[in-house]
Amino acid sequence: MEFEPVIGLEIHIELNCATKLFCDCPNNPGDEANANTCPTCLWFPGAAPRLSEQALEKAALLCLGLGAELQPRSAFDQKVYYYPDLPKGFQLSQAHLPLSRGGGIEILDEDGEPRRFRIHHIHMEEDVAKLVHEMDGRLPVSLVDFNRAGAPLVEIVTEPDFRSAHQAMEFLKVLRTQVRYVGASECSMETGTMRVDANISIRPKGTDQMNTKVEVKNMNSIRHVGDAIAYEIERQSAAVGADEAVVLHTRLWDPDKRVTVSMRGKFEGPCVPDPSVPVIELSPEWIEGIRARLPEMPAVRAERLTREHGLSADEAGMLSTDPEVAGYFEALMGAGVAAKPGLHWLTTQLLPAVKERQQELGETPVTPLRFAELLQLLAKDSINANTAREVLGEMFESAAGAAEIVAARGYAQISDRAELERVVAEVVAAQPGAVADFRSGQGKALGFLIGQVMQASGGKANPKVVRELLVGLLG
């Protein structure tokens, strides 16, 4: 029998808010252990939660960015379970009335066709503390770091729409881009600001039954999510093929062995409405205020870039995945740089140079205006490409403008035909062998001769003019 997988995703995203969700403690889990704690997030007797306005706004922005519908009424519930990482015996989460419902993301499927995957709902919740088990020493101890306890999270729950690892991975890539776009989170699976659980079941292909699912956790990259899903599909298909029952449980992805390992039975504790956090009522005006803060989302921006600057869909799509890069590109366009060379120089020269220097695009001294000046010198044939690369390197070190550097270093390209004719004549006279080769039809010789002229001019000759002169003289 042929099986098909049914996959749903639960994605936890840590919001990059200044404070925790229910108190004013800094939202910096990486600080010295237990530095960021207070009577509220440690749940001392008498503590009362106060919902952070910024967290609500960021979460709402994230929902709108994913096309979801904010609910006029949402509320927090207590997810009851006892564990030392949970300071009050329950986690505040929105189980019954989530912040938003609906929404979805369009991706390109394996066959290159666009396909939309639906989001069931998005809710807010608080993170738990971090447990550190020190097993060395005379007495093994468990330590708890409450810096992360109460950190603001949203959980995005998808519909079980995915039928392959590829679809899930593409969805996560686009989701990550969109959440970064609205500025709600860095979404790093490596550092844990984005965590993905996959719920996977299988069924005979072509049926619409929903079978017992298995939850897989602990993937710390999108690739691992794909690998874990692929592994789990194989494992379950083999099990069902061998007439074994699939039981509801949680498995962990082991990235070294590249297998999923059974962790525990899936525990579903009760969810009781919380009496201390007030019901969240969002007015249409408030929602529109948040919507007005929504940046242009990547798909919309890509479409506009194609329309305004004549980029291909691929180019525009690639450019739009990173709001900083897209913004830089648009600033270049605004400074009068042509689209194709602008895109080319941005992606092949500037971005690698910035990365090499471990800078952020938004903070690099080579601002769009300075870079535009350089590209315009290139467009006017004032310098050639080699020189431009060299000047770019110097622009990272000095505050001088591109034209200034060119003038100071005498980099200006020689396009004056009379001056170049003299150099060309010298080279032709000095290289009779290469001239003979060229005349006998060996194309390579022309490149050699151009190189010789460039060298003789100290790299400043305009290679286009040199080529014309050589062909004219020898042809």
Binding site: P39, L42, W43, F44, P45, G46, A48, P49, R50, L51, Q78, V80, Y82, Y83, P84, P87, K88, G89, F90, S142, V144, F146, G269, P270, V272, P273, D274, P275, S276, V277, P278
Partner: protein, 355 residues
């Protein structure tokens, strides 16, 4: 519990900044639930203090007051900040006030009431003016709840009827009103209250503070050992009851929430028939000394209504031997706290004048 709070509760802060002298602490029952082991009312009775603050989860401040012939008041839900209050039932509990005179309650309540940025569960509603002179209009309608009198002894019933006569003599239009669902208040309090209590006490896990039971091999044993040693019998039964509804019978909890909403609606309708509702306040409390949960519910059967609906309620002692007869409860609509206290003042002033 070997734990010192880092901060004053909002009520304490406000009392201090209003220049009110805090002269001692009332010994409460465990988490304020019931009156076993509680000294509530003692200092007001002995005139060592003018006002006493007592947590009111199901009527403790009112029952304790009438036992000693004093007045007990539970403010409207959300009128007084619960920041710093160590309680059990966030949606029902309130800081109750005990005093010999409703006037003292009004003065202190005026100091502590009002929005607190540290308690987000408080509604942003205007606080009734406690400084204003409230007069009780003639013909104020008072509705006596028929179903609330069934559990009284003949002596208590006579005392209660005397209290109603006082209201009539003061110019109130007294009528009998009926709420057939009256017994459900107790049921709702049982289920919703204990579920909230089970959650509220989850924090006492001995991980971050409090005594930790020695010898545990893992965290689970540590929880069981520490909590087992820490909680008293009554609270344990209460938490078991809450955990039962959380984990084993959640449907009953959902039903109780729906019934609570219905009772709220029925109460609001009754509040259109009458300006105030009247119930007895038998001087039971302490009957739960066996620490049996059922005894606690029996002791507070007449007082827990206002906790379920969040209304303000004032218990006045009845004339005569208060210890045996108990008191009368006057319950007003939400945020009618100031005029409710004015009504109480008028009744007691007239009583004093008669003597």
């Amino acid at each position: 519990m070997r734990f010192t709070a880092l901060d004053d509760a909002t009520v304490v802060q406000r009392l201090r900044s209003a220049g009110i002298r805090i002269c001692g602490m009332t010994g409460m029952s465990e988490f304020g639930l019931g009156l076993t082991g509680s000294s509530a009312g003692r200092v007001v009775e002995t005139k060592h203090a003018d006002v006493e603050l007592v947590l009111d989860l199901m009527g403790e401040s009112r029952v304790a007051a009438v036992r000693v012939g004093a007045c007990g008041f539970k403010p409207s839900y959300g009128l007084v900040s619960r920041y710093g209050v160590i309680g059990l039932i966030p949606s029902m509990e309130a800081v109750g006030l005990l005093a010999r005179q409703p006037r003292s309650i009004r003065t202190v309540l005026g100091c502590v009431a009002g929005a607190d940025e540290r308690d987000f569960s408080m509604p942003e509603e205007p606080v009734p003016g406690f400084d204003e002179e409230w007069t009780v209009p003639a013909g104020t309608r008072v509705g006596v709840i028929r179903e609330a009198c069934s559990g009284l002894t003949p002596e208590q019933l006579t005392g209660f009827q005397q209290g109603i006569e006082e209201l009539r003599a003061a110019g109130c239009a007294v009528s009998e009103v009926s709420l057939p669902d009256y017994p459900l208040f107790s049921l709702v309090h049982k289920i919703v209250g204990s579920v909230e209590a089970a959650s509220s006490t989850g924090r006492y896990d001995s991980v971050r503070y409090g005594p930790r039971a020695p010898g545990a091999k893992n965290w689970n044993e540590m929880y069981l050992g520490s909590r087992g040693a820490m909680f008293g019998t009554l609270v344990k039964s209460y938490l078991f009851q809450g955990a039962y509804f959380q984990f084993e019978n959640y449907a009953a909890y959902e039903d109780a929430c729906r019934i609570r909403a219905r009772l709220l609606g029925q109460t609001q309708r009754l509040m259109q028939e009458a300006d105030y509702l009247v119930l007895p306040c038998p001087p039971r409390g302490g009957a739960e000394e066996k620490s049996a949960l059922e005894a606690v519910y029996a002791a507070f059967a007449e007082t827990l209504w206002a906790n379920v609906t969040g209304q303000p309620v004032l218990a006045l002692p009845l004339p005569g031997s208060a210890g045996a007869v108990g008191g009368i409860q006057l319950m007003g609509p939400r945020l009618s706290d100031a005029r409710l206290l004015a009504l109480g003042e008028m009744v007691l002033d007239r009583r004093k004048g008669d003597r």
